[in-house]
Amino acid sequence: MKRFNIVGTDVPRTDAEAKARGTAIYTDDMKLPGMLYGKILRSPLPHALIRNIDISRAASLPGVKCVITGEDTPKIKYGNWRLFPETQDEYPLAVEKVRFIGDEVAAVAAIDNDTAEEALELIKVEYEELPGVFDVDSSILPAAPVIHDYCPSNISVNRKIKYGDIEKGFAEADYVREDTFTMQSVSHAYLEPCSALAQVDLDGRITLWTSTQVPYIIQCLLASTLNMRENDIRVIKPFVGGGFGGKMELRAWEFCAAFIAKKTGRPVKFTLSREEEFLTGRRRHPMKIRSRVGFKKDGTLVAKDLRIQLDGGAYNAMGPTATFLCGNFGAMLYRYPNYRFHGEHIYTNKPPASAMRGFGAPQSLYATEIQMNLAAEELGIDPIDIRLKNAQVSGDKIPDVATISSCGFIESIKAVADMSGWKEKRKNLKPGQGIGIGCYSFISGGVFNWFNTQYPFSAAEVRAFSDGTVHLLTMASDIGQGSDTVLKQILAEELGLNMGDIRITSADTSMTPQADLGSWGSRVTLMAGNAVIDAAKKIKERLFGALSARFNLNVIHEIECKNGRVQAVTRPDYGLTFGEAVALVQKANRGEPLVARGSYTPRGKGLVTPAFGFGAQVAEVEVDRQTGLVEVKQMWTAHDCGTVINPRSVEGQLAGSIQMGLGYALSEQFVMDGGKTLNTSFVDYKMPTAADMPPSQVVHVDTYEPEGPMGAKEAGEGLASPTAPAISDAVYHATGYRCMDLPVTPEKILEGMKKD
């Protein structure tokens, strides 16, 4: 392992104290003089034409300052796939038609929240209800109601992948099985509901403070939907209380805050309630997965034919990316010499599904992992052994995708089997007790540019000062995952400084260098980290040149930044403090400050990602065979995220992933009645609490990713996938019930046990 000073240590998080003390300012904490409070009127119907909207009574309610409907807006559609405008299917406020319960129809701004809410009740909307469709099977029938006129089939995206010779592969197989899996929809349930505050400045520019993962994308899409220029929009991301993929698109309230601020000249804030978040919020795609896999007798995979239908809800949202990625995830983790994928993104009259931690992987890998276990059992091979036989390794090439530059998957499987006492426990547990495995591979950021950015994927600016401090500016967004801390660590490491020497400004589109695609796809550490290193290296070149001149160094000397000094490696006495060296550079440039820009854009890295994370997880459960309730007794994880930059942060990602995986496996689901979400509070949306968390042990497998900053790659999303299959497999081991339709509920377990 390469040795570092700051990287790899548990430096306290930059934001930890403010959050612990309650002094961190989130969007909804902000109040500006004269600020108005906004509320959104939402469709009560899943599918209807808007015949008329009468806002007169609402507009005349004392205290109401502005009421808008879709008719008042420029009526410009938006969506994150700018490269393919036909996929941009959403208006900020509904125009002529509503497509799900919760679709945004009108917005009110008033002097306080209560008045705004009262005004909503005074808006009269005449709807002509249309028949709705609520599942993928009905939606693709020829006679199904058409949800978007541009898309008569209701299938908005078709994605196909094919390599090898699928027919030949299956012909060579000794054992072929085909299974169908379904997964439920779950909520991001970030603890900070969405909030946005807009203000107009003297130039007419709009500043938007918003709880988002993607300030740059919001800037661009807000500009286009308002018919303004990009530079007329300034987006600032304050503290954000989690996103998990649910805050990575422009949303109606961001548009409405900006639009009404412009119209009234007063600041406007919208904050969603928890009920709104649950009733209408984005969610993880329910999927129907049909997977056919072929093996040799010895367990070697020869072919996979994967068909996935995504229930996208009423709009594309990030569904096209999920459709693309779930097909890639289907071909990751194991070696599939022959592979075929067909994914369809299908509209239904439900709240739109979108990106959510794992972005198609939790669903796709659930099918992969359960099917591996089914096959292992039929072939008489231990689940660990069948994985070892097929595991991807460093240097493997996934056709049309990428070459895997570093891979600690085999090491992860072996480590987790050791830690958990797999061989022993798999044989000797008591009835009701079980142990199961789940594995994952994930991307470290995407190389695709469907957003069609004209800028580098990530950028950094480093300003060095003669007082020994440096200022890092980056548009990378810390949404609670800790990127501010990690980027400071990387910069401190590269410049030989301490954390206390670094100041950071992040995620303000008017101040920080263009651009950054945001916090999603596990891209930030790798991409923004590389941009920071790029900028830091340019600073170092300037410092090294000045030092060389100052000490008249022979050109063959290596120079380093270390322990707050800039010095010749073999002659540290030829050296200066960092601040002195900066002063020297500045003097040599007649006062010009020492500033450098760095950037990172993945190039020549295939079609999907520059680097892959891997890992394996084992769960031990105890099932109450009378109630069907599952207690997860222990989780063991071994994973490969390359260099661990901040161990505590990585362990935090793991704990959060287990918490989400636990809910996905056992208790979380949106209970729907047609298009209506019935469980709209945390009482009935069963997200696990701290008290439900099982004990957990982890091993970080030691690898070094050549494409990553200081060897690092993703740690935040891959881990969201293995928990559900591991728990599900453990439940099977404990009870004989094999879950093909998540979640694993007590009722299904009791029913499944009965069949035996």
Binding site: T627, D684, K686, T689, D692, P746, E747
Partner: protein
């Protein structure tokens, strides 16, 4: 939503509270901990013009135990206080458990047993153990006091036997007779913090191996917390055997009338009535023989 306009009173004596309640008629609502009332007011389901807070009345917040009279829980005693009271823990462990697992820490630190009962949710977690232990509630109005058995108190979801002008002043639980024991069992989807999808409480009094008396109370499987009277009478005066309690559990299932909702299906609830009744009876028996 905007809270409806209301006047808030905080009387210092029960008499003052009763006067206010009578004067304000149907437009008045009592508030003990507020964890149900304020939520209902916030979402517009309750629009009282007068809210009468009971927390300022000193006599109402006590938890009194006496080995002769038993337990008296004042109307404003907090759930958390009941759950951690040494006498409750020692003599009424089933109640301590129910009060200590319901809702969450914040609600337990504000909410009260009396409020939980008066809210009359089918899933009210304190109702089954209290009914099983033969609790009564003390109701006062300007004319005087009356006592009513808790099993006659609930009339439907949100409906009780209380008449207008009455205040629940205390919950009275008899001292446990020798060789008696009570228990409380529940299931919910989340183990840590959750509302019960089904709950069952049992109380038994033994005479040697004979079940002298028994009460079985089911929660969240009918419009009100309900006694499984058929199962009870089946067990009374019978020798305690595994077969006896299994048959009683099956009988309790017959008596339950659950619905399907977001928390569980009717079918699963029925299955859980069987499992929990059996487990509740087993634990009540264990406690009885040690008592």
């Amino acid at each position: 939503m905007r809270l409806p306009k209301f006047e808030y009173f905080e009387p210092k004596t029960l008499e003052a509270a009763l006067n206010l309640l009578t004067q304000n008629g149907n437009n008045a609502h009592l508030l003990a901990g507020g964890t149900d009332v304020l939520v209902k007011m916030r979402n517009g389901r309750l629009k009282p013009e007068a809210v009468i807070g009971l927390q300022g009345i000193e006599d109402l917040n006590g938890i009194h135990f006496d080995s002769g009279k038993g337990l008296a829980i004042g109307a404003t005693a907090k759930l958390a206080e009941v759950a951690s009271n040494p006498d409750v823990l020692k003599h009424y462990p089933a109640l301590a458990f129910a009060a200590g697992v319901m809702a969450n820490v914040q609600v337990r630190n504000m909410g009260t047993i009396a409020g939980n009962l008066c809210n009359a949710a089918p899933s009210a977690e304190n109702a089954p153990p209290l009914m099983a232990m033969g609790a009564e509630v003390a109701l006062a109005n300007l004319q005087g006091d009356r006592r009513i058995a808790l099993h006659q108190f609930f009339r439907g979801p949100g409906l009780t036997a209380m008449e207008h002008g009455e205040i629940m002043t205390a919950i009275l639980v008899p001292f446990p007779v020798p060789k008696s024991g009570a228990s409380y069992k529940r299931v919910s989807a989340r183990c840590g913090v959750d509302i019960a999808a089904v709950c069952v409480s049992a109380w038994v009094a033994l005479d040697g191996e004979v079940c002298k008396d028994v009460r079985i109370v089911l929660g969240a499987v009918a419009p009100t917390p309900m006694r499984a009277v058929g199962a009870e009478s089946f067990m009374r005066e019978q020798t305690w055997t595994q077969e006896l309690i299994e048959t009683a559990a099956a009988q309790a299932v017959q008596e339950s009338k659950p619905i399907s909702d977001v928390r569980a299906s009717a079918d699963y609830r029925k299955k859980m009535v069987a499992v929990l009744t059996l487990r509740a009876l087993e634990q009540a028996y264990e406690r009885a023989i040690k008592n």
